[in-house]
């Protein structure tokens, strides 16, 4: 187990270093950084001064090490646009995206797992196909359109939920449904496939032969094993939701990381773009690592491989 852990950690670390390199070079892709910081009216002397002041006259390798040092100290620089540090911008918005992602994941799991189980049990019947259609619809519908439909129904017509902002948890309900629904098909199909696999296995036949109640067989014996791959996918989907909530956050005016990234790209606010890319990638790496470890705990076979 320790060897496995160390190996996974090593891989994660390598990916993190690669991501940091990409993220670092993002800023330098934007053209001359000193000119960007100085603004359009800065004179050439001012720009030279900035170059020295920010260490932009040093070799790239030195700049990278310095930058990495700053990042590790959580100093992510200042936004070109807002009068604010990137760290503060992200710190104020991350909780919103995290709450949204967590709620969306719950929505996705609550919809997808029962549907997947049902589809597997009623394999090749109309129920199976209906379950699949419901799930696939989530991926087929453009999320902004689905979000607008939710707004029309629950906010404008029924007046149950607020449209935009993040003042109360009620503000998160529609965004979470819209975002979560999109992740449904992957989880649902994996649950279904896992269930079919497991249901055909010997120990299930044995369990049935022992005369155990069908429900007990299904949930105690089958589902537990079928869900192992779902755990990994759910973790990855969570990462996807953090990065992919741009559209949903825009429609519902949720001031999360997605919206921040989107605005920052449109504003050429490179320090923010860079920090968001780095952050989302790191979260992804951590989640994947956790998923691997969790899988290893749940399924001893993985540890050996």
């Amino acid at each position: 187990m320790l060897g496995f852990l160390l190996r996974r950690l090593g891989i994660a670390l390598c990916v993190a270093v690669t991501v940091s390199l990409i993220s670092f070079s993002l800023l330098h892709l934007s053209g001359d950084l000193a000119t960007a910081i100085g603004g359009p009216e800065a004179s050439s002397e001012q720009i030279e001064q900035i170059r020295v002041q920010y260490g932009l006259d040093k070799p790239l390798a030195t700049q990278y090490v310095n930058w990495l040092g700053d990042v590790l100290r959580l100093d992510l620089g200042n936004s070109f646009f807002f009068q604010e540090s990137v760290y503060n911008l992200i710190a104020s918005r991350l909780p919103i995206t995290l709450s949204l992602g967590a709620m969306a994941l719950v929505v996705a799991l609550v919809v997808a797992i029962p549907l997947g189980v049902l589809a597997a049990v009623k394999r090749d019947t109309w129920i199976d196909r209906l379950a699949l259609s419901i799930a696939v619809l989530g991926q087929a519908m453009p999320s902004f359109w689905f979000a607008l439909m939710l707004i029309v129904l629950f906010a404008v017509t029924l007046h149950w939920l607020p449209v935009s902002g993040n003042a109360t948890w009620a503000h998160f309900v529609m965004p979470a449904i819209a975002l979560g629904y999109y992740a449904t098909p992957a989880i649902m199909r994996l649950t279904r496939a896992g269930m079919l696999d497991v249901l055909a296995s010997d120990y299930i036949r044995t369990a049935r032969a022992k005369g155990l109640r069908p429900g007990r067989v299904l949930f105690k014996h089958a589902l537990r094993n079928a869900l192992i791959p779902v755990v990994a996918v759910a973790a990855v989907e969570f990462g996807f939701m953090l990065g992919g909530s741009v559209v949903i956050e825009t429609v519902f005016s949720l001031q999360g990381i997605g919206q921040l990234a989107w605005d920052a790209i449109a504003r050429n606010d490179f320090p923010v773009v860079q920090a968001v890319v780095l952050l989302i990638a790191l979260i992804y790496i951590v989640l994947t690592l956790l998923a691997d470890l969790l899988n290893a705990v749940l399924d001893p076979r993985i540890r050996v491989r």
């Binding site: 000119t35 603004g39 359009p40 009216e41 646009f81 807002f82 009068q83 604010e84 911008l89 918005r93 607008l148 707004i151 029309v152 906010a155 404008v156 007046h159 149950w160 939920l161 607020p162 449209v163 935009s164 902002g165 003042a167 109360t168 948890w169 009620a170 503000h171 309900v173 825009t250 429609v251 519902f252 005016s253 001031q255 919206q259 921040l260 605005d263 449109a266 504003r267 050429n268 606010d269």
Partner: protein, 506 residues
């Protein structure tokens, strides 16, 4: 979940109904929403309309231009005197307090006027203050303003775009602190500025009694940033927002059917236009350097169609590089480029582009208009790829000369003088990409001449050349649709300033 369960959750959700803040008459809270937010709330450090609206709420100018009569009235200055061609003396009003309680004196006015022209201040609205030379204190409530050169429209600028800052507070907190917690003398006090969300304001109950705009009525004001148009409309329909603008014509028609909403439309002095990179700074071989190409673009655009079908309301096609009601803006001098795709194609052929060319068009707003323009260009063979940016980013690109074609909208800071439109874009300011020395010369003369006829004659010459050279493709003036809670009294003005100070509940 059975029917019962569903009903239970419905009730549960219903309970939250009361917890999200509702804006309305009962709470004396007016929530207004718009798509963009200023990068910095300091009125000199953004040039976005939303910033101008906030500037009028939290700050005051020295002079007030009555929006109904156009007459200049005393505001923070009680009287002014032209000492000579380029010097103005002001008597500063006594008894006015900044929102932190400190009294307004000549020191604040002198500080502001000198601050905004200092290069270190990094003022974005350069075109509004570049005429100011310096200010000096003549007494506790007396200020002398020196212009760089005689500048006849000085009062027009002072009544629209030169709000007064508190010296002591600003020096204490600096620009960064000020942009988070600004203080002015205006009818509303800024409570909080939250990036990406908006600005909360509360009525300044100590607002000076003799203000020409009167005392504010509504207690709480909230500016909400909602980037998505559909979401803004939905918010208005649910009652969480009381006022929106820039509503698309088809949506305005639909909103008119709603019993609890009012919809009005009004033409504005904002003009829409394309800037063509005539100097070729975006690329050495830019087709825009060729006059025939620029003319072709002018002929290729269906201005009538844009104005009547897309912008709608009071929008009119435009051929001149200013707003016709501005002093010095004579539309008759412009070359008339009627919609004529065949002629545009012929001109492109003459210019050596028989199959057209590919280029980029930059824009920051009105994506649907820009897409129509792209369609018009496509029809004559020009493939323009859209680069859609936030305003500040586009402005930096434009000022840096990296933009072959851009779609721009300009409201002249509500200043009714051609110096604020053509003057901003052609006089050698940072926004002048064209840098035609002849045009610059005429505009300088026009801006600084004392004789109104000399001013007009020089604006005419400049506007004529801009049009002949097709530096721009002027498109139309804007018409705005406003939709709001029918409990609210609201009157639109052509200067595109929603005057919430004058608004009240029915």
């Amino acid at each position: 979940m059975g029917i019962k369960g569903f009903a239970r959750s419905a009730v549960l959700l219903g309970m939250f109904f009361s917890t999200f803040a509702f804006a309305d008459k009962a709470n004396d809270t007016l929530v207004y929403a718009s798509d963009s937010e200023p990068e910095n709330i300091s009125p000199y450090h953004n040039d976005l309309r939303e910033g101008v609206v906030l500037a009028r709420l939290a700050w005051d100018n020295l002079v007030y231009r009555d929006p109904d009569t156009g007459e200049y009235k005393p505001m923070l200055a009680t009287a002014w005197k032209q000492v000579d061609d380029s010097t103005l003396d002001f008597d500063i009003r006594q008894g006015v307090k900044f929102q932190d309680g400190t009294p307004l004196t000549a020191d604040d006015v002198v500080f502001t006027l000198n601050y905004v022209v200092a290069p270190d201040s990094k003022v974005v609205t350069v075109q509004n203050v570049s005429w100011i030379g310096s200010a000096e204190k003549l007494g506790d409530f007396k200020v002398r303003l020196h212009m760089k050169k005689p500048f006849p429209p000085a009062l027009e600028y002072l009544s629209n775009a030169v709000p007064i800052f508190p010296k002591a507070y600003f020096e204490k907190v600096g620009l960064a602190g000020y942009s988070k917690q600004p203080i002015g003398t205006g009818p509303y006090k800024v409570v909080s500025v939250v990036a990406g969300e908006g600005v909360t304001l509360v009525r300044n109950d100590d607002y000076f009694k003799d203000s020409p705009q009167g005392m504010p009525h509504i207690k709480n004001l909230q500016f909400k940033v909602i980037p998505d148009a559909e979401t803004r409309t939905a918010e208005l329909m649910t009652g969480a927002v009381d006022w929106i603008w820039r509503v698309a014509p088809d949506q305005a028609e639909q909103l008119k059917q709603m019993p609890n909403l009012s919809v009005v439309s009004g033409g504005t002095m904002r003009i829409g236009f394309l800037i063509l990179d005539a100097r070729g700074t975006s690329s050495e071989n830019s087709p825009m350097k060729n006059l025939k190409v620029r003319q072709a673009i002018n002929y290729a655009i269906n201005r009538e169609g844009l104005a009547s079908q897309l912008v709608g309301g009071e929008s009119k096609p435009l051929q001149v590089a200013c707003y016709p009601a501005q002093f010095g803006c004579d539309p008759s001098v412009a070359t008339v480029y009627n919609y004529d795709p065949a002629k545009a194609k012929a001109l492109l052929k003459e210019a050596g582009y028989p199959d057209g060319f590919e280029t980029e068009i930059f824009a920051y707003r009105d994506r649907d208009y820009v897409e129509a323009i792209i369609g018009n260009l496509r029809a004559v063979g020009i493939k323009a790829n859209l680069r859609y940016l936030k305003y500040a980013a586009l402005r930096d690109q434009q000022r840096g000369g990296h933009v072959p074609i851009s779609f721009q909208a300009w409201g002249s800071f509500s200043i009714l003088d051609t110096s604020a439109s053509a003057g901003t874009w052609f006089k050698g300011n940072p926004d002048d990409n064209i840098k035609d020395p002849q045009v610059q010369g005429w505009l300088q003369t026009a801006d600084n001449a004392l004789d109104p006829e000399v001013r007009k004659a020089n604006y005419r010459k400049a506007l004529q050349r801009i049009s002949e050279q097709a530096y721009w493709t002027p498109l139309f003036n804007y018409s705005l649709n406003y939709a709001y809670n029918h409990d609210l009294q609201f009157k639109p003005y052509p200067d595109e300033l929603p005057r919430f100070v004058l608004s009240r509940w029915n």
